[in-house]
Structure formats: C-alpha cells, structure tokens
C-alpha cells in the first residue's frame, strides 16, 4: 500500500456506494488537491464511476464490474484486481490496476491511460476509441476487437483473434500472439511507431525498463473497410 495521507476515506463496509459516487461527482476544481481512499470494496460494482474532476482515488482491494467507468480527469488506482469493464468508456485521466483485470478492460474508451500491472482477460480494449492501454502481463482473446483508435501495448502475450475487425487502433505486443483476427496484420515498426510506443511506455512509468525494439506492431489491413465480394469469407 502506498504511503498516502488521504483527505477523505470511504469505507464501503459501512458506507453506501451511492454516497461515495455522489461525493466524487460533487467534487469540484476546488477539491482537486484532495486524495480519496476507498476501503473494503470487496468486489463491489460501479466503484468510482463517472468522476469528472482531477481527483486521486486509491481503492484498497478488489473491485467488481465497471470500476472507474467513464472516468474523466481523475486518477484511480486499484490495489487489487478489477472485474469486467474496468475503466469502460474512459474519457481522460489515468486508471491503474495493480492486479489483474477481467474482460473488456478499457472497452470503448475515448481517452486517458489505463495501466494493468497483471493480466487482462478477453476483449481488452474492445471498440477502443482513443484510449491508451498498457498491459504489463498478457491479454485474452478478441482483444482490441473493432478497435477504432488509440493504442494497446502488451508486454506479455496476446490470445486468439487479436485485433479482429480492427479499424485504426495501434497494437504493440512484445510476446507471442496466438492468432490474429480478421483483417489484422503485422505491420512494419517504423521509427514513428517506436517513438509512439516509447511515449506510451513512458506515460505508464516504464521508461528505460522495456526495449521498444522487442515489440511487434499490428494494425488493420483495411480490407474490410468497404464490402468486396472477395472478402466475404471474413464476415
């Protein structure tokens, strides 16, 4: 646990979730300096969802579905594992899970940075729309499915059908890829991609610890962007 001096502590063992979220929503620019600490989440769903201010929220334990959902501006740190849909549709800010994340981490996220210290399971970054996701472990099957934009950086391995039906999201995987999904191909890692990857790694606090040359880049072959009968078997 980090040594922090929280200004506000919510213990979900004896406080309703609704009170926590309402207080977080009411926090304004004037309370920006405040640090929030959440105890005993015990797998509760929808913890710290919909924050719209640059707060720092530290959650001590495992959380359920949709933690930090639709986050904007806030930094949410989870000292535990996260359930389905971690930081789903995040707009901006920073979400960091110290353990593993379940399915659909960062789903449909528009912006911000999601860092997962452990593994993420299936559909990590599904329909991502601009979010950056850095997974220190591995990701499960169908990750970045229909990924529109943003980046998914995986230090470990990727499961089956990586980047299926990909649009313009950029995928970087250091380990093995079990299989690529429809219309996803390995692409040349040019200098601009190395710069981009280095930026994302730096933002995730990994500067100097990981060699960008060890990654492969994957992106859309753009063959499915407009229907062509020769590609019908991919549908």
């Amino acid at each position: 646990m980090n040594a922090i001096s929280p200004d506000i502590t919510f213990d979900l063992a004896d406080t309703a979730l609704r009170e926590l979220n309402a207080a977080l929503h009411a926090a304004t620019g004037e309370s920006n300096a405040r640090r929030w600490r959440v105890l005993n989440p015990n797998g509760r769903h929808a913890v710290a969802v919909g924050i719209n201010a640059p707060l720092t929220v530290e959650i001590e334990g495992h959380v359920g579905y949709y933690c930090a959902g639709m986050n904007a501006e806030a930094s949410v740190i989870i000292h535990g594992n996260a359930g389905v849909g971690l930081a789903e549709n995040m707009m901006s800010g920073f979400v960091h899970v110290r353990g593993d994340a379940s399915q659909a981490a960062g789903a449909t996220g528009h912006g911000g940075l999601l860092v997962i210290d452990g593994n993420a399971s299936a559909r990590c970054g599904i329909s991502m729309k601009g979010i950056d996701i850095v997974v220190k472990g591995s990701v499960g099957h169908m990750s970045a499915f229909m990924g529109q934009s943003g980046s998914l950086v995986v230090l470990g391995d990727a499961g089956e059908a990586l980047g299926d039906s990909l649009y313009e999201a950029k995928l970087f995987v250091r380990g093995s890829v079990k299989s690529l999904g429809a219309d996803c191909i390995e692409k040349e890692m040019r200098d601009e991609h190395k710069v981009l990857l280095a930026e994302k790694l730096k933002a995730a606090g990994l500067e100097g610890t990981v060699d960008v040359a060890a990654f492969k880049r994957y992106g859309s072959a753009r063959q499915l962007y407009n229907f062509h009968v020769d590609n019908a078997s991919a549908y």
């Binding site: 979220n21 929503h25 969802v49 719209n52 549709n89 789903a107 229909m146």
Partner: protein, 445 residues
C-alpha cells in the same frame, strides 16, 4: 399455315414462388455477390392494428363528450427507480434515429416537433448533436453496443437513458451505416475513418445477458446519481421472456419494437424474416409485466408501424403505456414526398417506395449527409408538420377513448377491442368480432 395455328396458346404465367421480384433479386445477388441492403421496416403484409376494431359505447356503456369532457393523454415514464421521471403530454414519442442515418436538419426538426406537443425524442447510434439537444425539451439518450459518440457529458445532459439491446427490424443484429454517409462530421463523432462501411456490433462490448445487464444498469444509475429513467429496448421476438428479464434487470421503462419498425440500413433478408409483428408482441409483453406485478409500474413503450391515433389507441388498449414512431415521423417531415417524384424516378424508384436510405441520396434531405440535399429540409417547417401530425394522432386517440367512455387513454382495455381476422384475434388476444372466441389462449408464451 401450320397445324398448330388453331391451338389455343398457354398464356405466359409467372410462378407464385419465383415471382418477378424474386427473380430480380436472384439476378441482383448473382451480379453483385452481396445481400441487398436497404432502410425502413418490413414491406410484406403482416397482421396489424388494421385488423382490430373498437367497441364504442352505446347502451351498456356511456361515451364522453368530445371537446367538453376531459380525456387525459399525459404519461409519466420512469416511476420505478428514477429520481426524475419524465412526464409527456402525449403518449406518442419519437423513436431513436441517429445523426448519421438522418441529417442534422432532420434531427432538429424532430426535436422541434416533439417539443411543441410535449413529447420526447431519442438519439441513435452515433451520439448526441447540439441541434437535437437544443431543440428537444425531453431527450432520451440511446446507449448502444457500438457506443459511437457515447460520453458521460451527453449522458448527463439526457433526460433518460435507453439501453438498446435490439430493434424490431433486426433483433439480433447490429447497426449499419455505409460509406456514403460517413461524412467528416459523422466520422469525427463516431471516431471512424471517413467513407468506410460501418458495421456496428450486435452485442454490447462489456456485458451479455440479463444478470450482467443488472450490473450495467447499476453503473448507469450510479453515474447519473440515480436521477434518470433507464429504458431497455428490445426487438420483438420472444417478448414475454425479454420483457420479464428487462424488469428483473432493473429497467424503469421497456421499449418493444415490432418487425415493422424501421432501420437506417440493414440486410433486406433480416428486415423481412426476423422478428414478429408488434400486434403479436404486445400481449405477451404485458402478460410478463402483469405476472411480475409491474404493469404500469414499469412502463411499456411499443413501436413498429404506428401510423395513426387509432394505432395508438389500439396499442394502449392492449396494455402499452406509450408508443414510439419513427417511419411515420419521417414521412411527416417530408420523407418520400411526391413533390420529389422526378428525383425518385431518377434513382430508379418512386415516391412512397424509396428505401435506399443507406445511399445518402435522399431527395427529401432527411436520410442523407449531403449538404446540398439536407439543406432542402427546413427544420422549422418540418418540425411544424411533425407537431401537427402528433397533435392529430393524440386527438384521434382521445376521440376513440372518449367513444369508449374513458377519461384517460390509459383506461382503454383489451376488452374494448375485437378482431376482424382469426390471425389478429389470436395475436392480440381479443375475440373475433361477433364471437367470444379468442384463438390460441391455452398455452403460455
């Protein structure tokens, strides 16, 4: 002269199975290698509200006077959990239609018309535009599998949230928006490359099934501090179970869309062959609500082929709390208007039959992103036409309700109806006219 000249010839005869339309479709498929894509709802004839009639009051029941004796039409939606339920002056709402599928002018016109008569409009797949938020006093924000343009700022601006699981034209399918309509603005709102064919997902990315939907609803409520009504929209296919599950998952309002409901673009085979008519869907849905003790507590909005105040009254009599219109609203704005007949002809169709909404060439400027075409639609005038039409529908529904002796349209009942056909009697669960026979009322759903 040959010996055959006096033999009567067999006249050319088309096959009923391989009729000209079928033959043309086979040739089209063989030439292109892709299924036919179009907009709108089913074009085949299905049992509908036309096959129901009201039993007006006479001796056994007393009617109300039009213009003098009050007949309420207001409806309150979202009374179950939401802190801020919605009150509408008429039970006719505007169904979800996206900016992208429709021009910004059309979205604005919908908002203007609906606001004038005190009802709501609904966003679609592609996010909320300032035009529609600005002009819609009550705006329902659709939460769709694609999450195009979905953001918490707009979510909080909405008056209600509609989680879309399916729509009547294509239960089980995702949305489509073809390249011709992905303009710069649409592409930016959806975060997609311009000009691509966009195929939306058919399932939500971060939940599947009613048990997980319950958790998703909790998240949306927490996000919006439990203020906004949460609708759940399904396409009609297994309405008894789907409505029951939406209620169990915590919906405030359920929206049930029959197969006549339109869509911006999808496969013709889907539109014509998947889902059931709204006539057949309402009673099982109401039965589910009644079985759970939730009828009128969780409100039911039905849609799919609603055209007149008579349709509204019939839907309410079967147990709905409100209806939604899509296609009819577009027609009121000016869709398929004969004034553009020459242009429809140039597109190889005719006014009234135009359904290539996905191609973005709509002469009426409604289902297009073309700046020249869309500029043809004056949002103020079109909004006024829509308001007129909505007022007429409301008055018509009141007229029927009064004739049946009801001081509120919600007091219409299935017992006020009879059916003209055995099919309609079975589907609507009302007796065949002149009999007490309701076919098929033995089993469950």
């Amino acid at each position: 002269m040959t010996a055959h000249s006096n033999v009567p010839r067999t006249p050319p005869r088309f096959s009923a199975t391989f009729d000209p339309a079928t033959l043309a479709e086979i040739r089209r498929a063989a030439a292109t290698g892709i299924y036919d894509i179009r907009g709108g709802g089913t074009k085949r004839k299905v049992p509908h509200f036309d096959d129901l009639l009201f039993l007006g009051a006479s001796m056994s029941r007393y009617p109300l006077e039009g213009y003098r004796e009050k007949c309420g039409t207001e409806v309150v939606l979202g009374t179950r959990f939401a802190k801020k339920p919605i009150t509408l002056r008429t039970p006719v709402t505007i169904a979800g239609m996206s900016f992208g599928a429709l021009s910004a002018q059309a979205k604005e016109a919908l908002g203007r018309g609906a606001t004038t008569v005190g009802t709501s409009t609904t966003t679609g797949d592609g996010g909320m535009t300032p035009e529609e938020r600005g002009q819609s006093q009550t705006l329902v924000y659709q939460y769709l599998p694609s999450r195009y343009g979905m953001n918490p700022v707009d979510l909080r601006k909405a008056d209600a949230i509609e989680i879309v699981i399916g729509q009547g034209a294509k239960p089980g399918g995702g949305g489509m928006l073809l390249g011709q309509k992905i303009s710069d603005r649409v592409a930016a709102m959806r975060n997609l490359p311009k000009g691509i064919d966009q195929r939306s997902a058919c399932r939500h990315p971060d939940w599947t099934g009613p048990d997980d939907l319950e958790i998703k609803i909790e998240e949306l409520r927490e996000l919006t501090d439990w203020e906004k009504p949460i609708y759940v929209k399904v396409g009609a296919s297994r309405p008894y179970y789907d409505i029951a599950l939406a209620v169990k998952a915590g919906a405030d309002v359920v929206v049930l869309d029959g197969m006549q409901g339109g869509t911006a673009a999808t496969q013709d085979v889907f539109i014509e062959n998947v889902g059931i008519p709204i006539l057949a869907a309402i009673r099982p849905a109401v039965q589910a609500l009644q079985d759970l003790g939730m009828h009128r507590k969780v409100q039911l909005i039905v849609s799919g082929g609603i055209r007149s105040g008579a349709d509204v009254a019939k839907a309410l009599a079967l147990g709905a709390d409100a209806v939604a219109i899509g296609t009819a609203a577009l027609v009121a704005l000016g869709d398929n208007d004969p004034q553009y007949e020459d242009e429809y002809q140039a597109l190889g169709t005719t006014a009234g039959a135009y359904d290539d909404w996905h191609e973005g060439l709509d002469p009426a400027g409604i289902t297009t992103q073309d700046p020249v075409l869309s500029a043809r639609l004056d949002p103020v005038k079109a909004g006024h036409r829509l308001a007129n039409y909505l007022s007429v529908m409301t008055l018509e529904a009141q007229t029927i309700a009064r004739a049946c002796g009801k001081s509120h349209v919600h007091n219409l009942e299935p017992e006020d109806l009879v059916a003209l056909t055995v099919e309609a009697a079975a589907m609507a669960g009302v007796p065949l006219a002149g009999t007490s026979w309701i076919p098929g009322r033995t089993g469950g759903y």
